[in-house]
Structure formats: C-alpha cells, structure tokens
Symmetry: none
Subunit: 217 residues, 4 copies
C-alpha cells in the first residue's frame, strides 16, 4: 500500500516499471505534449505496462506526473552538472549552458515549461515544488549550480566583479531566460538572429561579471 516516493539516488533504485513510466513521460515532454494533456493510459501504454500498475506505485495521476517531472529535471540538471565539470573556464561553462538551452528549445523541453510548472499556482505546481524542496534536489536547481559556477570562477580569479554572489546568480539567470525567450518566441516578435543575440549576451556577461578577455575562450 505504501506508494513510491519519487526520490531516488540513481536509476538502479527505481523499480523498473516506475522507470519505464518516467521515461515515457520524458519522451512525451520531448514530443511537446502538454503536462495537462498527459493521460494515465498514454503514459502506461508508452511505458509498456498495464494501466492499473501505475496505481500500484503511485497514489494518483498527479503523483505519477509530478514524480516524472522531478525525475526529468533531475536528469537534465545532472547532465548539465556533469558537463559543467568538464569545462575549464567560466565562459566555456556558460556557452555550454546556452548550447543546452538551444538544444532543449529545438526539442520541446523548454525552460519556460519548467518555470511555469514551478510558478503557476496550481495544485500540481505545489506538488512538484514540495518534491523539489526535499533536500536531495536543491543542488540540481539552476540557481544553485549557477552559484557554484560563480563561486568557483571567483576563486580562480576569472570573475573580478565585487557584486554579491546572489546578485550575479540572478543576472546569469536573467540572461539565460533572455536567450531562452528568444528561442521560445521562434523569431516571431524579436528581430535579431541567434548568433548576434548570443554575442550580445556574452559581451553583457563579461562586462557585468568583469571577466578578463584573456580568460574567456
């Protein structure tokens, strides 16, 4: 009777049928299916399991989707964290983030989608947030890994700005949203090309964070 709590350290701990459901939801998100449009049958069918089985593991449809979304975010940010580790300079890291944002938008995994999920006032939003608030997930959140990026870059001396770390995090976040919005509007209301946009953002960041040109790629 005790149902699944979606938090797992790694895939091996997740019951295979649950993992299949998570992956099904990720696929559906990648295909642009709206959260509100996900049906239990769509998920279990895609996962190759019976509809009733979903209720062996979860209390309700919302639990299924919320856990899957959290899993999805966890995977994405884990991936990003891993990529971050591989980059040596701050700007290489930020470039990578912009690459990922571009890729994500090309698929339908928009950043705004997740922001929306995390900020609308719905019951589902509260559910996802409450799951994320469990300490295990905090480190994966954009704000947190951006903070890590900045702390490290300050230590290495790449960033010489004296502004508070929290401020710099917000600034980076804003620029990420900026870039993402650009793609989300798919050119409809903004009259700049992607390369220019990107160059502007890079320049702005280097200016704001006072990053010496010699250190950037």
């Amino acid at each position: 009777m005790a149902k699944v709590n979606c938090i797992f350290e790694n895939d091996r701990e997740i019951p295979p049928k649950v993992l299949a459901m998570y992956r099904a939801v990720m696929e559906l998100i990648n295909e642009g299916v709206e959260i509100a449009d996900m049906k239990v049958f769509t998920i279990t069918d895609r996962a190759g399991i019976g509809k009733g089985t979903a209720y062996e593991y979860f209390e309700s449809k919302d639990e299924i989707v919320a856990c899957a979304v959290v899993y999805c975010m966890q995977r994405i940010f884990q991936h990003i964290n891993e990529e971050l580790e591989k980059k040596e300079t701050f700007m290489d890291q930020f470039d990578m983030l912009m690459d990922e944002a571009e890729k994500a938008e090309a698929q339908k995994v928009s950043f705004f989608r997740f922001i929306h999920i995390l900020t609308d006032g719905s019951e589902f939003c509260k559910l996802v947030r409450s799951k994320l608030n469990s300490e295990h997930f905090e480190e994966y959140l954009p704000l947190n890994f951006m903070k890590k990026m900045i702390v490290r870059a300050k230590e290495t001396g790449e960033i010489t700005s004296q502004a508070s770390e929290d401020y710099l995090v917000c600034f980076l976040m804003a620029q990420m949203m900026n870039y993402t919005l650009f793609f989300a509007m798919d050119g409809e209301m903004i009259d700049v090309d992607a390369a220019t946009m990107r160059e502007n953002i890079r320049a702005s960041i280097m200016n704001e964070l006072k990053i010496g040109k010699t250190l950037s790629k």
Copy 2:
C-alpha cells in the same frame, strides 16, 4: 450566429454579457485559477449569466478564454502604457515596471503565466498568439513598449549604450523576468531580500545600458 471577435477598442463596444465574462475570467486569474482549470460553467456562473449565453457569443470554450486572456493582457498593458507616459526618466519607468510586477505577483497575475501562455506549444497558445498578432495588439506587448522606452531614452541621451535596440529590449525583458521569478518563487529558492534584488537589477541595467548616474532617480 456570427460570433464575437475579441478585439475592441474600449469596453463600451463590448456586449455587456461578454464584458461580464471577460471580467469573470480576470477575477479567476487573480484568484490563481489555472487557465486549464477554467470551466465554462465557472465563468458564466461568475459572470452571472446562463451557460448557453457563452455560446451565443463564442464558438467554443477555448475562444472564450483566449479572448478573455487577450482582453486581460490588453487592460494590463494599457494601464502600464498610461503609467509609462507619466514618468520622465528611463529608470523611473523601469522602477514603475518593477512596482507593477511586484503588485501583479502579489495578486496571482504572474508575468510567467502570460509568458507560458504565449510560449507553450499548445493549441490554446497558438490561438492566443494568433489573436495577438492582429495589429491592434502588437503595441501592447511588453517587447514593444520596452522598445519604445529604449528608443525614447536613447533620443533623450539617457541611454548611451551602442548595442542594438533589439538586444537591449531582450536584456530589459530578461531582467523583468528575473525580478518576477524572484517573486514567483516567493523566497523559496532564492536567498536574497526584495530590496537587494531590486538594487542589484537596477545597477545591472544602468551598467548595461550605460545610463549616467546623474540621470537616474
């Protein structure tokens, strides 16, 4: 038979029952009800009219809500445009925008809600966008009135940045989103107080747009 097109210059042109519906939707939005959770009955009941009446004016539930959302955005941005006129300096204007964002978030009229409505790939999103694309509404869109702000400030010499206007618009937009996100997360994941946040954003903008300190408030 010919159904309502939601575009109206002012409230007096809108049939009273339609106006009642629009206002009902605005109320519901203010109360934090999700777009997806709005039922025809909820709207008409709140509007004090019969369920069937809604279909006298609109083709479908989606048309009702999409038109109401457009109306809602129109009112909000009309209000902002009016307030903008009253401000003399660029930073006064931007401060006002932040004030409005703060107020809006205090209600549930989050900016992200509208961004989400305009950027998720759903049919409803396409519907709202197509309505907004009618020329009458373009001037009301954030990107457009931010552009106006920048153009004016460049003319007055407040802004001395040489970056393209489109880029600067995006930058402003990003900072607005930044500030909004801060409230949308209601302190849950960001460890800064509102005043600091605001000061940081102001500093960042003045730096990026190269606004002379002497000109700001």
Copy 3:
C-alpha cells in the same frame, strides 16, 4: 395565442411568414436535410424571419415541421393530380408517376422519406398522420389518387382485371415503391439498369391489371 392549424385551401390563405417557413422546409427537404436534423433557427433563418416569430404561429417545433411536411405533400400531390388530369390512358398516367418518382429521387424528396414519416411509430409520425386524417388531405394521398386512376380506367375499359380496387391500388403502390427503392439504393444492391427495371414494371402491371396491349402507349 391561438396557433395556426396548417390546413389551408390555397397559399393565399396562409400568413406570409408561415408560407415562408413552409417553403424553407421544402427547400431543406430538397437539399436532403433529414427531418430530425431541422432546427428552428435553420428554418426561420432560411425563411427570412425571426426565430421568435415561429412561435407566434406554432405551438412547437414539431408543429412547424409537421405542418410544413403536410404542406409539402399537399403541393407534391396537387401537382401530380394536375398532371394526371392531362394524361389520357392509364399507362400514360403510370409512366408519368414513374417519371415523377425518378425526378423526386434525383432531388432528395424520396418517396420513402414520406413513407417513413408516415409509418415510424414516433410522436412526430402520429402528429403528421393526425393532420393528414383531416378530410381535406385524404384526396391527395397516393393511395387515393391511385384509386381514382383505377376506377377511371375500369370505367373506360382499359383495365379488365376483376380484382378488388383496393387490392389493385396496393399493387400499384407496391410497384411504385419498387421503382423508387431501385433509385433509393442508387444501384448499390440491385443489378439492373433503370430502363429494364421500368420495362419490367410496366409489363408486370399490364399483366396484373389485364390491360390490353392495344390500349397502352
């Protein structure tokens, strides 16, 4: 408050708005619209009058349509009666009936449609029947004018069969239905061409009614 009784000797007695409704229904029938699919609005709109006006003249939608159907049948059979008068021999008369059936089917005014209306057990059926039972309409009914044809042809000596007139009427009726069914199935389940079909039916009638070949066309 006293509503219209649909029985009228001629069009001049019918209030113009009612006549407009009757004609609208006839048009709709000609266009193949099913009785069950006729909406009050469709009718009044086509008639060029207001929806409420319909209820000034009739108690209910069913009354409107039933009266219109009766009017429609009246017109059709009046026309046929007039044509019958012009023909000299029995077989000329019957040929004319087959011509009319063919024309009617080419439009969508199928005979079976009326037979169905008169024979399904629905409330609407009872309503139409009760209207037809008013003496004014009896003479217009197929069974009745077929009887007239037979009586006349017996008097002129064209028909020499000794079978009861009622039986012969039924026989004619059956052959008419036969021919009509042929068209109603538009070739789908019957493997004969129209000309053969017609020739067979003519032969069968002449045989059954014992009509001397010399008398037929």
Copy 4:
C-alpha cells in the same frame, strides 16, 4: 483502445457487454423507439452496464447504434433464412415471409424502418450501409435471399416465368412492401382486411411467376 467491429459470426464471439447493448437496442426497436431518439444512457441502462463501458467498445454513439442495427438485421434475416430452409415449395416460403412481416409489424420492427435507415441520405444511413457492404452481410439482405428463392424454384420447375431473375426479385420485393405497407398503415387508409389482402397478393404472385396451381399449398 481498438474498438469493436460489429461483424461476428455468432453471439458467442461478441463480448457480453456488447451483446447486452445489442439486445437493448433490439428491445428498444421492438418497443417502437426511433433510432434518432436512442440515447447512450437509455441503451447502457437497459443493457445493465455503465455509460462509460459503451465507449470502451465503440467510437461513438452512432457506431453503437449502427452496429446494433446491423446485428438486428443479421438476426432477423438469419432467422428468416433458417425458416426458408424448412419450407419445401416456393409459395410456402413466401407465405412464411408474409407471416414474418405480419409478426414484425405487430411488434414495431417494421420493414420500412430498415428501408428508411438504408435509404435516407443521413450520415447514419451511410454508416449502416458501409457496414452492410462488408461481404459477410450481403447474403442476408432481402434482395439476395429472394433471389435464392427464385433460382431454386426455377430449378425445381415451380416457377415457369421466363422473366429475368432480377425482375422477379423486384416484383417479390414490391409485393412484400405492399403487404408490409398494409400493416404499417394499420388499416387507417386501406379498406381491405388482411386475409383478402394476402389472398390477392398470393394470386398476383402465382400469376406473375407463372406458378402452377398444383404446386402451391
């Protein structure tokens, strides 16, 4: 997900809930309920199942009713085919058909009802026809088993008429409609009693098909 195709060789292949629905529709038809007046709830309630269950098996209400009608026709004609097998002479067969028509009319399962369903131009009509056109059902159609009757009787020498089989089929069909119409009008417009009617029809058939008196019952 894959919905029912209404074609089944025998009842045992039909899922029990579907069978219950079919039987419910048959009952309703027997009670004189019009096709257009059948509601999903009426059917499922009568069938003793939940409303949602209907949609587990069928795509839409029209599919439910169309399949049930086809099932109904199949049962009726199967029964008639079986009865036909038991009869030795052609006229015994035709008498049986008239008996069945009489019984069917006494219930409300009028022949005309089915003819109407098969000949009005409605979408429902097209649906039923398309189902009937699947080869499995052709043999059950009246025109086809009348043809079989005639072919057999020609072989046995009962029928000596040289007219084409298709013509004779049409003639029989017409006489069946004749007899059916007689009952459908329940005496309202025809002034003959059933026995006389029947005798006339028998005589007419024996005359037309040139059936030797000695061979008939």
